[in-house]
């Protein structure tokens, strides 16, 4: 399971304040804490309301990489900010994200190729988020085909079927799970799959429980990666246990302690 730490996002007040003050310390702390907790990537998002998003993204990427080597998932809809992030990034970044819209694909995929980055592709287009699994998979297929045109391997694509808050759009969750099953059949080697996990529990009570339960269900459907709160110990325990139940790791009585120890750095 590829874990993408969600915390360096301007939607969080501490991050927004750090960005406004250009104070590296909170960013450093979040980068280190998430890396220690087992993150393979760190999602970095400037937040919606910043001036000069390009400068902010470049600063965030450099600031994170001052303290950790963990690659960054550059999370922005602004192509210029994305390019600034890619230019500042050391190592192999993950772009978050393109959609299935042709204009988006033609803007983002060349950048992925140029910088050797991997890409998250959202299963949506100009018409919005599809209602069912088949339409999501159809868009995913278009993204796979477009990536192929640009010489990007399916293994460097992370397709996100887009989970919506269960408190708002309950009917989407089963469709997302079905999409995860279908997407694996689109290419050989198959594209990877990813979800922005915390979205499922927006506006719900018991957020951590909703996240945990959905993650276990999604892993059973073959989910490869998730953007999530890697510092949520209960959630990480679910990852470790699901790896055992899916026979990806050999069971032993101390499996949980070992997983926790590994994540404690």
């Amino acid at each position: 399971m590829i874990l993408i730490g969600e915390r360096i996002n301007g939607l969080f007040r501490d991050v927004a304040r750090a960005i406004a003050e250009r104070n590296p310390e909170p960013i450093h702390a979040l980068a280190v804490a998430q890396t220690k907790a087992g993150a393979h990537f760190l999602d970095v998002n400037t937040g919606p309301a910043v001036d000069e998003p390009e400068k902010v993204m470049g600063w965030l990427v450099r600031t994170v990489q001052e303290v950790v080597d963990t690659p960054i998932c550059i999370d922005t809809m602004n192509v210029k900010a994305l390019e600034a992030g890619l230019a500042a990034h050391r190592g192999r970044a993950l772009i978050n994200s393109t959609t299935g819209e042709r204009a988006k694909l033609d803007a983002i995929l060349p950048l992925a190729k140029e910088y050797g980055a991997q890409v998250i592709g959202l299963a949506m287009n100009e018409k919005g988020v599809p209602k069912d699994a088949n339409d999501r998979t159809a868009i995913a297929m278009e993204i796979v085909a477009a990536a192929d045109e640009y010489g990007i391997s399916p293994q460097d694509l992370y397709l996100d079927p887009l989970i919506l808050p269960v408190a708002v759009a309950q009917e989407h969750a089963p469709e997302v799970l079905e999409t995860l099953r279908q997407v694996r059949l689109l290419a050989d080697p198959p594209p990877r799959t990813v979800v922005g996990l915390s979205n499922v529990s927006q506006k719900s009570k018991n957020r951590s429980l909703v996240n945990r339960t959905f993650l276990a269900m999604a892993m059973a459907c073959g989910l490869d990666a998730a953007i999530l709160d890697v510092t949520d110990q209960d959630l990480m325990d679910v990852v470790a246990t699901a790896n055992i139940l899916l026979n990806k790791e050999v069971y032993c009585d101390s499996y949980l302690e070992v997983a926790r120890r590994a994540h404690a750095g």
Partner: protein, 324 residues
């Protein structure tokens, strides 16, 4: 035709056994096992940086229960562990010597720690190869004798055993204090193999100091099951499971010469061919099967079986170089 290859991310850890003078021991050389990055002998997928090694088994007493066919080649050295060890190195080119402290068994000689220390010291001064030492298998007695042996051989970086899930602490402690490696035995159980490795590392012994004994059986006695356990250990290693990524030791001679097919004398099994050839063949075929399963250290008893195994390993490795 294109060969489809697996790309593994993990590898088996390397364990170094023995210490030369520069490292505080008295061995003339050291032996490193493990380090494989693919399945056994799939040379196109991974590397075998260290060849499988042969350890010859010797006892601190004359093994009366060994069949005559097995006692005969050692007739002049039985009961003299130092001379026996020398013969293993001189006649069989043993990479390691594996000393079994059989005489401390309460049902046998019931000898104590002092005798065991003396035997180990005599074997260490008789040969320059690294040493493997195991107790008699009685947990209480092993906890008394093996730590004393660890102390007597301090700094020699031996491989010491046998630790089990129910009985590992005093053995691991002596390895930590005196600088040895440990044999971690599990009863044909991958889950316990992993658990025991975790328990041992939790005590503070480095994972690079553990060798797995998955408990092999002989040909005809559940060897298929051993094979699948060992295969799973290797697959776990290659998939990045760090608590399974240890090299494997197999006690081939012990198992093969326990088999009826190896022990039955000529008179009672006239249709089976001469016992001597039968026993050697049983030991050799058990070893070659476990070689394909991924074992790193082979503890052998009969010199002819050991020498034939050596030729077989050399051929497999040569072929590997030829193709790769």
């Amino acid at each position: 035709m294109e060969v489809l290859k697996e790309h593994w991310t993990g590898k088996v850890r390397e364990v170094a056994i023995g210490a030369t003078r520069e490292r505080g021991g008295t061995r003339t050389h050291t032996v490193t096992v493990g380090g494989e990055t693919g399945l056994p002998f799939l040379h196109f997928e991974g590397e075998v940086p260290n060849p499988p090694r042969i350890a010859m088994e010797i006892w601190d007493t004359s093994p009366e229960e060994w069949p005559e066919a097995l006692r005969e080649p050692w007739a002049d050295v039985l009961g003299d562990p130092a001379a026996w060890a020398r013969k293993c190195v001189d006649k069989c080119g043993a990479d390691l010597v594996m000393l079994r402290l059989a005489s401390c068994d309460p049902d046998r000689g019931n000898t104590g720690p002092a005798e065991a220390q003396a035997v180990v010291k005599s074997v260490l001064s008789a040969v320059g190869v690294p040493l493997i030492v195991i107790g008699c298998g009685d947990p209480e007695k092993d906890n008394e004798v093996v730590p004393a042996v660890g102390e007597a051989a301090a700094g020699e970086n031996c491989l010491i055993g046998i630790a089990k899930q129910e009985n590992y602490k005093s053995l691991v402690a002596t390895c930590m204090v005196n600088g040895h490696n440990i044999i971690a035995q599990s009863p044909l159980d991958i889950n316990i193999a992993k658990q025991l490795n975790i328990l041992i590392t939790e005590m503070g012994l480095a994972p690079e100091r553990i060798v797995i004994d998955p408990m092999s059986g002989a040909l005809g006695y559940g060897i298929e099951y051993c094979y699948s356990i060992m295969e799973r250990v290797r697959l776990g290693s290659l998939q990045g499971d760090k608590m399974l990524a240890m090299p494997v030791i197999v006690f081939v001679g012990q198992e093969a010469w326990r088999a009826k097919e190896a022990r039955e004398p000529d008179e009672t099994a006239p249709g089976w061919g001469p016992q001597r050839a039968r026993g050697v063949a049983w030991e050799l075929l058990t070893a070659t099967t476990l070689l394909q399963a991924g074992a790193d250290i082979f503890v052998m008893r009969h010199p002819d079986a050991a020498l034939a195994l050596r030729r077989h390993i050399d051929e497999l490795l040569m072929r590997e170089e030829g193709v790769a």
